[in-house]
Amino acid sequence: MVIEQKEEGLSVLLEGELGHHEALSALRSLEETISQQSPSRLELDFSGVSFMDSSGIALVVQSARQMGAIGGSLTVRGVSRQAMRVFDAAGIPRIVRFVGKEEKR
């Protein structure tokens, strides 16, 4: 997980596979980052994620909830075609903003 402070807000780059095995530690560090930095804008960059299951949904929903509680906004970008099918199946694009063209992987 690479955390970068950009002009437009905080950006978190997620890398590798995102399944249940990886989810808990990713969730904890993300949670900690948000509570420590209280960003007004957070961007989750999925362009480094090679595979994702419903664990990715939990991560995005949890971040959206936490950002909502501090009055900030959340954007998800760089989602692969595989991961987008998972988000779509759960209706997540209805509650979180997705940007950037999906990359075919």
Binding site: H20, H21, F51, S54, S55, A58, R85, K104
Partner: protein
Amino acid sequence: MKKPLNSMTVTFDSRSVNEGFARVCAASFVAQLDPTMDELNDLKTAVSEAVTNAIVHGYPDCVGKITLSVKIFENSLVEILVRDKGRGISDIEKARQPLYTTGGKERSGMGFTIMESFMDQVTVRSQPGKGTAVRMKKRLSVRLGAGGQV
């Protein structure tokens, strides 16, 4: 049901590090049908959900055995079976509901929803104290060259 044209079974410990192994294992076996990238990813995702459920809910306090079987039938029909001998599910209907989870906050409660939307058919059989079996079927597109022949 007719006899499968080809089949494989693998048994592994219910350790979360094996989720990746199970996904790749199922995908490698199905590769002989020359699936599309979407089909292969759908199967991997469904396997990931079923195996995660077995690890998290089948064996919440111990490490047990999980069996993954993949069968290939005529016309590129794939059947995936994920079994555990763990705790079992007392109310399957409830467990299958979207957003329902007894797991931690790292679980979304969308596992069965994902399996159902990525596979043509999902059947769950479970007996409290004895274990759970999730059977999933998907017919792949028959492409030139592969033709569902094994």
